[in-house]
């Protein structure tokens, strides 16, 4: 027998009341736990996904939309921008690195992102299986994409037009999976990466526009026309055959452009001289792991008529985040937005909502505290005689005080622990549910230091609720109580 088992014995006699009080408190604590985990992970997610990118350049429109679409891949893009215009900013002296993004297609709800190797590298991504893409229509899957689609290197899939699932397919031009990335716990995990040229190749509207320009400007490169007009289906076989006759460099371009009727190979060929004397071989056989197609941002690449969705910029300069956007926004019909600014703005908006919810949760906890108080107070009335008997058995006033306080603590701690457990389970549940919606990576299996304060808060609630009843127990008049029976 000790105070704890005594308190438990009394709580057992009041099972229903005790259970309700514990549940009420648990609900309040669970709500706060979910909010804590949610806001912490949301912020962590948002910051990690934007980490390293100082600026996003895209079509004019809402800056939040630009950030959401190009950094977090949740919203639709603001539009396309001319590669030529974007490229001039990529070469700006304040810019240390620029990564192009071409969006437009998806596969089973996962976005296909035309980009360059610098993009996964920015997230510190490591290839888990296979390699990075080295040709057009080669695709590398984020960890979650691979897990959910079951695709593996060597498999093919057909991208659907549009970002929403269920768009019409580019049946003629399947992507070939060449690699899978290790999980990065960033947005990368749910992206399908490929070269920008794959997106151009599949993007109908771009073609038309493109071809005209191509033919007009590069019609003289007739030597490549046979390739240019290859039918996509037959491409691979013929392509391989054609390799021997062409230099390494062109082979790349052919890969990249198989289905494209155009100017592009011609153009690349035009630039051939620049690359030809490069000591690095470009043949398939010689490809170093991760060897990449030439950057579309390189001066040698002809941007004429080409469009991309956005350009991610990194800068070494601290002022770039403020100077460059102003410059870009005023000097061109492009829009520049800083992820940090927009994330802060978003979090502030979300913060208002979270604060409101937190206030509600606080009220639930307050109600729980009141309920515990009422329960203990009523129990005290019913137990006055028991308390007097305990005194007559030798219990001091202090022991009775501690007995009632302990009972409050037992209730409160049970409520807090149940609430924490519930909060983590619910968060994990939301995380699983959202994993399909692909909005937010959320897990319940992580603990925050702030939860320690929740335990303290619970102990405080228990103390506050039990204090008055405990003082009542302390002041029990034994003789009078016993005589009254």
């Amino acid at each position: 027998m000790n105070l704890f088992s005594l308190s438990l014995a009394y709580l057992r006699t009041q099972r229903l009341t005790a259970a309700l009080n514990v549940l009420l408190l648990a609900l309040g604590v669970a709500s706060i736990t979910v909010l804590l985990l949610l806001s912490d992970q949301l912020q962590g997610n948002l910051e990690r996904d934007a980490d390293g990118f100082d600026l996003v350049v895209g079509a004019k429109g809402s800056p939040v939309q630009l950030i959401l679409s190009s950094v977090y891949h949740v919203d639709i893009p603001t539009g396309n921008i001319d590669l030529e215009a974007a490229r001039s900013w990529a070469r700006h002296r304040l810019v240390s690195e620029a990564i192009p993004l071409a969006l437009g297609d998806g596969f089973r709800g996962f976005r296909i992102v035309g980009t360059e190797h610098g993009y996964p590298e920015s997230y510190g991504a490591v290839v888990a299986e296979g390699r990075l893409w080295q040709a057009s229509l080669e695709a590398v899957l984020g960890a979650r994409v691979a897990q959910q689609t079951g695709l593996a290197p060597g498999d093919s899939f057909v991208g659907a037009h549009g970002l929403a699932p269920g768009g019409h397919g580019h049946d003629d031009n399947p992507y070939k999976v060449v690699g899978i990335l290790e999980p990065t716990d960033t947005v990368l995990d749910r992206l399908i990466l490929t070269d920008v040229r794959s997106v151009w190749q599949l993007h109908g509207t771009d073609h038309a526009h493109h071809d005209e320009a191509a033919h007009a400007e590069h019609g003289d490169h007739a030597s490549h026309d046979d390739h240019e007009h290859h039918d996509g289906h037959a491409e691979h076989a013929e392509h391989e055959a054609g390799h021997e006759a062409q230099d390494d460099h062109e082979r790349h371009d052919d890969h990249a452009e198989h289905d494209e009727h155009g100017h592009h190979e011609a153009h690349q060929a035009h630039d051939q001289e620049h690359h030809e004397d490069s000591p690095v071989g470009h043949g398939h056989e010689d490809h170093a792991p991760g060897a990449e197609l030439p950057s579309i941002l390189a001066p040698e690449f002809d941007p004429a008529g080409r469009q991309i969705t956005a350009l991610l910029l990194k800068s070494e300069s601290l002022t770039a985040g403020t100077t460059l956007p102003r410059l870009i926004n005023s000097a061109s019909n492009l829009q520049a937005a800083a992820p940090v600014t927009e994330v802060t703005r978003l979090l502030r908006l979300i913060g208002f909502g979270l604060d409101t919810l937190r206030a509600f949760a606080g009220m639930v906890i307050l109600a729980a505290a009141l309920s515990v108080f009422v329960a203990l107070y009523n129990a005290l009335q019913a137990r006055r005689f028991d308390l007097a008997v305990m005194r007559s058995l030798g219990a001091s006033r202090g022991l009775l005080l501690r007995h009632i306080l302990l009972e409050g603590q037992v209730l409160a701690l049970a409520g807090v622990l149940l609430g924490l457990l519930l909060g983590h389970l619910v968060t994990e549940g939301i995380g699983l549910w959202l994993s399909n919606a692909q909005l937010l990576r959320l897990t319940g299996w992580t603990w925050l230091p702030a939860e320690g304060y929740l335990v303290l808060l619970g102990a405080g609630v228990g103390l506050a609720a039990a204090l008055l009843p405990a003082v009542g127990a302390y002041r029990t008049d034994i003789a009078r109580t016993l005589a009254r029976s």
Partner: protein, 215 residues
């Protein structure tokens, strides 16, 4: 041993008990008789140190209760004085055995389940150790209460109307137990009652009149 000297008690300036001198030697047994309101319960509470007297002295086993600070008095009572009441004396949340264990804990004594079993056996209820009070008859409840009063080996047993709510057979059994157990442990026994069934069993008796004075 119990010695009451010049003991008196007032409620709201109204005297309800006045005793010049009353002494019980160790192992002696006595009754307090008197009509309702004659101060019997008040006298027992004073003797148990549950109530501080308005005047006079209570000495139990050589210890003057008035000289003890409150917590020490509680402890002294827990270890040396066993109390039995008319009813509502067991904690309904605890089993019979746990009620006895509680007496050990409250007195600051180490848990001793052998002593609990012995005390329950002494009142013939060893098989009811795990029963809750509401599962016991009134007579059984009173016997568990006696076992609880005995479990710490008290030197003084005070019983306030222990048979008042029991039928004849149970009253007889409870009284037998109190008398026999007190005698076998050489504990001093003082029973307050206005129950005529009791007065036949114990010779020594202190009679109080309606004003709380020895008659």
């Amino acid at each position: 041993m119990l010695r009451l000297t010049n003991l008196n008690h007032d409620y709201d300036g109204h005297r309800v008990l006045g005793l010049k001198s009353f002494t019980l030697n160790q192992g002696e047994q006595a009754l307090i008789l008197g009509p309702s309101g004659s101060g019997k319960s008040t006298l027992l509470h004073l003797a148990a140190g549950v109530l501080r007297p308005s005047g006079g002295e209570v000495v139990v086993c050589g210890q003057s209760l008035g000289g003890l600070p409150e917590a020490a008095l509680d402890r002294f009572r827990g270890r040396h004085i066993g109390l039995v009441y008319q009813r509502f004396h067991l904690l309904g949340a605890l089993t019979a055995a746990a009620n006895l264990a509680l007496a050990q804990y409250m007195a600051g004594l180490p848990a001793d389940s052998a002593a609990v079993s012995r005390a329950l056996s002494a009142v013939g209820l060893q098989d009811k150790a795990q029963a809750y009070p509401h599962q016991l008859s009134q007579g059984q409840q009173q016997r568990v209460a006696i076992a609880r009063a005995l479990v710490n080996g008290p030197r003084l047993i005070l019983a306030d109307e222990p048979t008042a709510s029991l039928d004849d057979a149970n009253a007889e059994q409870v009284l037998d137990l109190l008398i026999a157990q007190a005698a076998s442990r050489d504990a001093t026994l003082l029973i307050a009652t206005h129950d005529a069934r009791v007065s036949m069993r114990i010779e020594r008796c202190l009679e109080l009149n309606a004003r709380g004075m020895p008659a």
